[in-house]
């Protein structure tokens, strides 16, 4: 059975969606900019920039480097922090034309719990994306994601605080993603996001120094799509909860390939940074491709 030619999903987590394309965390803010441009129409869900308990300035610049074949980023979860998200951002996002999923990143298990508990008061968001895979921070981030036991603890801590659906965003940078996905499923996750950026680095050989201030960064590129397809495929056969694909999507066929690999929803990140109109272009392209079958 081929899920793709059988028809595209029209809902996710019980939420009606116009198609399978969602916006990846950290590449769309809280959706407000795109909504102002009228570009959320074809978007399934908006995954917010990571929210952390405290405000974070982020890493020292330079934080972005385009290697030509891909983007290295070292943002470091820059965000206004829980309080201002509650007082300023969520009220502003209340009128968003598509549902918002809050991406949450913390440095300890208990802080994951308390941050989500605080956000529960906040508004009408559709759910949470538990970020245990950020490659750009010293504490937390992918240090959790590489360890299935830590993934389980974090997932349970969040699960205890909310009845909204949660997805756990896994890391490709070590450990065993299939075990981590199963740990998330067993601990009450409603989906897993596969995956986050790949650890990468560029050095200037003339100086011997990294181009990003922090040295390593998270790397994304359309050339990484096969790595994401493999991981979605492997995780998809190991869990029964939906898989949200994240990584390498550039063209309509990429979305269909990830769906065929087992994804229920497909995020776009780096491609969106380049083309805010990408979700609409993908929606149109997908319609065209499927007409031809």
């Amino acid at each position: 059975m081929n899920p793709v030619t059988e028809g595209l999903p029209d809902s996710f987590w019980g939420i009606p969606v116009p198609g399978p394309v969602a916006l990846a965390s950290g590449t769309c803010g809280f959706g407000l900019e795109l909504d102002a441009m009228g570009l959320l129409e074809d978007v399934a869900l908006v995954f917010s920039k990571a929210v952390t308990p405290e405000p974070r300035d982020g890493n020292a610049p330079p934080r972005i480097h385009d290697t030509g074949y891909g983007l290295l980023n070292s943002i470091g979860l820059a965000n206004p922090g829980l309080d201002r998200v509650l007082s300023e951002v969520l009220p502003a996002a209340a009128g968003l034309s598509r549902p918002l999923v809050l991406n949450v990143a913390c440095e300890s298990v208990s802080s994951f719990g308390s941050t989500v508990a605080a956000l529960e008061a906040g508004g009408s968001h559709a759910g949470y994306e538990v970020n245990v895979s950020c490659p750009n921070v010293e504490a937390g981030g992918m240090a959790f994601g590489v360890d299935p036991a830590a993934v389980a603890s974090v997932t349970r801590a969040v699960r205890l605080e909310t009845r909204r659906p949660i997805t756990v965003k896994l890391t490709p940078n070590g450990g065993d993603m299939v075990s981590a996905a199963k740990a998330a499923e067993d601990s009450g996750a409603d989906a897993v996001t596969v995956c986050n950026t790949f650890l990468g680095m560029k050095l200037d050989w003339r100086t011997g120094r990294p181009v990003l201030a922090r040295g390593v960064g998270g790397y994304s590129s359309p050339a990484l799509l096969p790595l994401v397809v493999a991981r979605v495929w492997q995780v998809g056969r190991a869990v029964r909860i939906p898989v949200i694909a994240s990584g390498g999507v550039w063209e309509p066929g990429d979305v269909l390939e990830l769906l065929a690999a087992g994804a229920s929803l497909v995020q776009v990140g780096t491609g969106l940074l380049r083309r805010p109109s990408l979700p609409s272009e993908l929606a149109a392209g997908i319609r065209e491709l499927l007409c031809g079958t």
Binding site: G29, E33, A36, P62, R63, D66, G68, L71, A78, T270
Partner: protein
């Protein structure tokens, strides 16, 4: 007319011609952008219809003709992206997102505009809105001089054109108080030097156009931090690229 947020569209290349050694001027047909953009704002141009390079390149509007529906940019061939752009020919299509960011706070009165290198690119547009202005520009070798507006006071490090020395040398005789607004655009080190030389009493009139690598240009990636004098960072593409000089923490500018 009121500006209504950036527009992402394919623009026809009207012309792309060398303006000086390694410098190109590209003119694009982009009516909605032309009627909305303001001096100091910028656009993100997609250097290739293929997948690579993966991100767009920010360029400041150099001039704008709302009637003709066209905008122009002046750019250095700095690397892969601008090199692809420079090979555009009439009739090609270039994807462009704009206008983006906050431009110069335009104000009546007399302007001093100080450029380093291709920081001059945006001044023709700003000049077109100014009552009266003095333009100063410094370059290393005189490359780019031909892109400066007529009457620009010049300095070159090698002395080939204008005064020998840095652009800050030109500032020594400036009657600061005669200017209502001061606009500075160029490499960070040059802007820091200019700001350092500005008498504190006029610092409030100084605006600077900051550069940063940009992941998106439309305010969502967090890739373009500019250190704020109030601590933390501002976003170059959304809070800037033009800032009041006193809002920038120059100590944290490398």
């Amino acid at each position: 007319m009121s500006s209504s947020g950036p527009v992402d569209s394919d623009a026809r290349v009207i012309a792309c011609i060398p303006a000086d050694e390694g410098i190109f001027r590209i003119a694009l047909e982009a009516p909605r952008i032309a009627s909305a953009c303001r001096p100091g704002q910028f656009a993100m141009l997609e250097p290739s219809p293929g997948a690579f390079p993966v991100s767009r390149r920010p360029l400041t509007f150099s001039s704008c003709d709302p009637e003709a529906g066209s905008v122009t940019f002046l750019f250095d061939v700095a690397g892969a992206g601008t090199s692809i752009l420079s090979r555009s020919v009439e009739g090609d299509s270039v994807r462009i997102l704009g206008p983006l960011g906050r431009g110069w706070e335009t104000a009546p009165g007399r302007w001093l505009m100080v450029a380093g290198g291709l920081g001059i690119a945006g001044f023709p547009f700003l000049l077109s809105t100014a009552d009266e202005a003095v333009v100063m520009a410094g370059t290393r070798t005189g490359r780019g001089t031909s892109c400066c507006p007529p009457g620009t006071v010049l300095a070159t490090e090698d002395g080939s054109v204008g005064m020998r020395g840095l652009v800050t040398g030109l500032l020594e005789d400036v009657e600061w108080d005669s200017f209502d607004s001061i606009a500075v655009c160029g490499p960070s080190a040059m802007m820091r030097a200019v700001v350092a030389r500005t008498p504190p009493r006029v610092l409030g009139r100084v605006q600077v156009s900051m550069e940063s690598r940009m992941g998106c240009g439309w305010g969502v990636c967090g890739g373009c931090p500019v250190p704020s004098s109030r601590g933390g960072f501002m976003s170059c593409c959304k809070d800037g690229p033009v800032f009041r000089a006193c809002d920038v923490d120059w100590e944290r500018i490398s």
